[in-house]
Assembly symmetry: C2
Homo-oligomer: 228 residues x 2
């Protein structure tokens, strides 16, 4: 069985990505990042998801993004609440972390090369996304081209594919897909600003998108929110 590196944040998108990679026939190896994010509780969720999928190789790389700021870092500005959802907005929200997906994917291609594996899954989404530039199809395409020039594997003729199975789905579509594949969304975490005991705030962009997704998918949301 071929291995695929799945970028695993512990959110509902990356959990769905695991389910898709598995149904595509891959043995999943998972890569998460500890980057000083405000919501380190998501790493606990990443571990739960890895366990649920029987993933034996799950690396958590410590990376240093403090130089770059952004509201998702624990010592930075406040996470915005109760906003109009970004899907309808053109602005890039303050939760944007510069170059985050480029950094994540760069590590993923490094690890993929070490494992001699040619497949990477990332749960980016260009529909119900949060306005991040590095979630767009044209960005992923360009990164894949770069990756196929960057490595020894590429020089030796083994190509690398960046799979983005969620890129054209709505949040509701992702939830329907994952539900069909048996994902337990109760173990995932989306909130940008959870309480110290890990409860989702219910009011940040990510919570609002998640709630709306479950509602539109007609699937019961297993999340306990501080405020509904």
């Amino acid at each position: 069985m071929s291995k695929a590196v799945v970028l695993l944040s512990g959110g509902l998108d990356s959990a769905t990505c695991c389910a898709v990679a598995k149904s595509d026939g891959f043995e999943i190896v998972a890569l998460s990042f500890c980057y000083g994010q405000r919501h380190t509780v998501e790493l606990a969720a990443a571990r739960r998801v890895a366990r649920a999928f029987g993933i034996t190789e799950h690396r958590i790389a410590e990376i240093d993004l403090h130089a770059f700021g952004g509201a998702l870092l624990s010592d930075a500005t406040d996470v915005p609440k109760d906003r109009i959802l970004q899907a309808e907005e053109a602005d890039i929200p303050p939760t944007y972390v510069p170059a985050r997906n480029t950094i994540f994917l760069a590590y993923a291609i490094g690890w993929a090369e070490v494992l001699s594996c040619g497949d990477i899954y990332i749960g980016v989404n260009a529909v119900d996304y949060s306005g991040y530039p590095d979630c767009r199809p044209e960005y992923i395409e360009a990164f894949q081209k770069t990756a196929n020039l960057a490595t020894k594997a590429a020089i030796e003729g083994r190509s690398l594919t960046i799979h983005t199975p969620l890129i054209n789905l709505s949040k509701a579509g992702i939830i329907r897909l994952g539900s069909d594949l048996g994902v337990d969304y109760g173990i995932t975490h989306s909130c940008y600003d959870p309480s110290t005991d890990g409860l989702a705030c219910g009011r940040c962009d990510s919570c609002l998108l998640r709630k709306r997704g479950f509602a539109e998918a007609g699937v019961v949301d297993p999340t306990t929110y501080q405020q509904s």
Copy 2:
């Protein structure tokens, strides 16, 4: 004066890059990485170079490459010695670290965005290089395209340029260029396998390329080697 991010390893290439960025009229901000490399003594060299150029903003990002192995990491395999120089060889040497430049450049574009700066300098070289895939012009071009899709700045129409002033120079050419611009190569460090007190081994690929470069440039090599 516009700022430019210069990737600064403390070696002779990146020191020359600083000199070029300065002569191009930029205020230099420098980015180095502590990645568990065997030659952490190079970080001391990076600090010396930063001081010599009067760089006030010099960040050293801690990154985690241990997952990926490679001989440049301090706990990995031996650094090869006394080999035929890679410039004449087609093989990629064991000192190759998968995806290293992609990771470095990913951080650089993140920091460039935070600083609202559109210029990055990296001292890659495709002539007297060590056979690394991520030092080739086609790789840099692809990365620049990716960078110009990855960031908020790109969406807002501010473009990013990856400058590679050394890419077509021989090591001798780099040394001549830097000497003309007043670089003090005595404070730089190239060796992959220095002694505990920081002396260059004189026998690894990097020392061999450095020695030959000075000889061909007709410039006195200020380096003290353990073995000449």
